[in-house]
């Protein structure tokens, strides 16, 4: 574990911040949807306000029980998950977590999932209404919506929109029309052409794109002669997917002018630097939280140390240099 004491003076010279659609990320480390709950659990281990942001567990209009059967399986350098978007629903989230999210001093991202076109649009409307209500009282609980059209673990919806650009376009347009909150669209590595998909999101008014979601994968129990997952396939994440994710972030960043939120397998400060060099504005960290409960804090320390060692004072100096 890297731990160096940076002097206050050296630290104030480092600029780790980025602004996306008016939302300030004080550093590029954002926790990825589905791996960080709504922040409460990890807040017991370190101050989550040190993070650049938090993307909450994927929410759908109505509560979802998720998938039955085995939900996790380890792979070489990664894991397969088949959670199936278990979540309390948008209403319960806003009611139970709204006040907590209001109190957070970090960028707060609602990850919006859905089954049907209407689910997504109504969901976005609800979040907008809640934001309007809070604005009347001068408060705020949500800084950005991350539209998840890429969950491979739900039968209908989700990924169904995320494969073909033409299927996704109408949805992105409708959600864009339903909210004035900053909007990032979370893309699937399983898309036919992820750069096309990103370009479409930009055309339809998205403020950013997030990528990648998990890669569809499989595990067979050879003695029972069946997939270990009830849904046959599950989503692969973790260090195993990093090279693929990095390549896709690079491709997309070259294609679009809106910011790219990059993720997939980040497990060290130098991994973060790779994503930034590939063009990411900020990154998200998912599976690494399971490898290190203080992931956010340790990555931030490591990133600062790297910048000092390499004489980098602002991440803008290295962003997209590849």
């Amino acid at each position: 574990m890297i731990r160096t004491e940076t002097s206050g003076a050296a630290d104030t010279k480092l600029d780790l911040s980025t602004v996306i659609a008016g939302v300030t990320f004080k550093n590029p480390i954002v926790m990825a949807s589905g791996t960080f709950g709504f922040g409460r659990e990890y807040a017991k281990f370190y101050d989550v306000n040190e993070l650049g942001g938090i993307s909450g567990k994927g929410l759908t209009l109505n509560p979802k029980a998720g998938n039955p059967g085995v939900r996790v399986y380890e792979t070489p350098s990664g894991m397969l998950n088949s959670v199936g978007l278990e979540n309390p629903g948008i209403h319960a989230f806003l009611k139970k977590e709204g006040a907590y999210w209001e109190s957070l001093d970090t960028a707060r991202i609602v990850n919006l999932g859905g089954n049907t076109f209407e689910d997504y649009v109504t969901g976005a409307e609800l979040i907008q209404q809640d934001a309007d209500r809070r604005a009347e009282h001068g408060t705020k609980a949500v800084d950005m919506i991350e539209l998840n059209i890429s969950c491979p673990n739900v039968k209908e919806g989700g990924i169904a929109f995320g494969i073909r650009t033409c299927d996704a376009r109408e949805l992105v347009r409708a959600v864009r029309g339903a909210t004035s909150l900053p909007l990032s669209v979370k893309l699937s590595p399983n898309a036919e052409d992820i750069a096309d998909m990103a370009a479409m999101c930009q055309e339809e008014g998205a403020d950013a794109v997030s990528l990648i979601n998990t890669i569809s994968g499989m595990k067979i129990d050879v003695r029972r002669r069946r997939s270990v997952f009830n849904n046959l396939y599950a989503g692969l994440s973790g260090p195993a997917i990093k090279p693929v994710a990095l390549r896709m972030v690079h491709q997309v960043a070259k294609r679009v002018s809106i910011p790219v939120i990059g993720m997939g397998g980040i497990a060290s400060a130098t991994d973060i630097v790779e994503f930034i060099m590939a063009g990411a504005a900020v990154v998200q960290v998912g599976t690494y939280n399971f490898m290190n409960m203080r992931a956010g804090r340790d990555l931030l320390t490591g990133l600062r140390q790297f910048m000092i060692e390499e004489n980098i004072s602002s991440l803008d100096e290295i962003r997209g240099i590849i």
């Binding site: 589905g34 791996t35 960080f36 709950g37 659990e41 990890y42 017991k44 567990k57 029980a65 998720g66 039955p68 059967g69 085995v70 939900r71 996790v72 399986y73 380890e74 070489p76 350098s77 990664g78 894991m79 998950n81 959670v83 278990e86 973790g238 260090p239 497990a267 599976t287 939280n289 399971f290 490898m291 409960m293």
Partner: protein, 234 residues
């Protein structure tokens, strides 16, 4: 970060690990352990076997990559452990039976010490291990090798039964609990579930347990659940 004090083999593929340090925990709670950096990716949940003044003990069965790495640990080696996590067995009074199957006996040692005078039932498929540790605390100690330990337990004779063991044993215990209750017994049967985990603290939902009142988390709401609450799907 802790330091391994000892890692003793008790039986074929069964080890007793003692880690030095000031650790806490209640009966039935667990720790997430890793004795490696990034690979394997996930930490391994192990139940608290005993907590001492400046040490904590685990009993584990070598089944795969992670536990194989644990088995290689020698005194002085560093090991990372986070915890205690989960809500364990309740502190109850009355006539209590502790029923363990195989490595499922691991958390019951702590219970036996906290609840002296209970009846302890230990079932093994092959070679028994750690049985003598229970003797000073148990009112009655029953050991079975090769059979079904649950057959030795009359649920109606107890106010509380704590069960930890393989999945089929937990399902059988649920049936026995229901049968005893239908005959007028007011026995409370608690099961300790071993769902696969990733975060261990309630953030990822991979450990979800179907319960009568909806989904619960094995790591945060459990691993101990009242038998009648759990809905087994297979």
């Amino acid at each position: 970060m802790g330091t391994v004090i000892s890692n003793e083999q008790l039986a074929d593929n069964v080890y007793h690990l003692r880690v030095g340090g000031d650790y806490s925990g209640e009966m039935g709670q667990f720790y997430m352990l890793r004795a490696w950096d990034n690979y394997p990716v996930l930490s391994r949940p192990l139940s608290i076997h005993q907590v001492g003044e400046d040490s904590i003990d685990f009993l584990y069965h070598v089944v795969g990559e992670g536990t194989e790495l644990f088995a290689k640990l020698t005194p002085g080696d560093p090991i990372q452990l986070e915890g205690p996590f989960g809500s364990g067995f309740p502190k109850v009074e009355g006539r209590i039976a502790l029923v363990g199957g195989g490595i499922g006996i691991a958390p019951l040692m702590y219970c036996a010490r906290e609840l002296p005078g209970c009846d302890v039932f230990l079932g093994y498929s092959r070679e028994p291990f750690a049985t003598e540790q229970f003797r000073p605390y148990a009112d009655k100690l029953t050991v079975d090798v090769g059979g079904l330990i649950l057959d030795s337990v009359d649920f109606k004779a107890y106010d509380h039964v704590f069960v930890c063991g393989p999945h089929p044993m937990l399902k059988a215990a649920q049936h026995k609990a229901a049968a005893a209750q239908s005959e007028g017994s007011r026995v409370n049967v608690y099961l300790s579930l071993e769902n696969r985990m990733a975060c261990g603290i309630g953030a990822c939902l991979v450990c979800s347990v179907s319960c009568k009142d909806g989904q619960r988390k094995a790591c945060a709401d459990g691993p101990v659940f009242l038998a009648e609450e759990v809905v087994f799907h297979d």
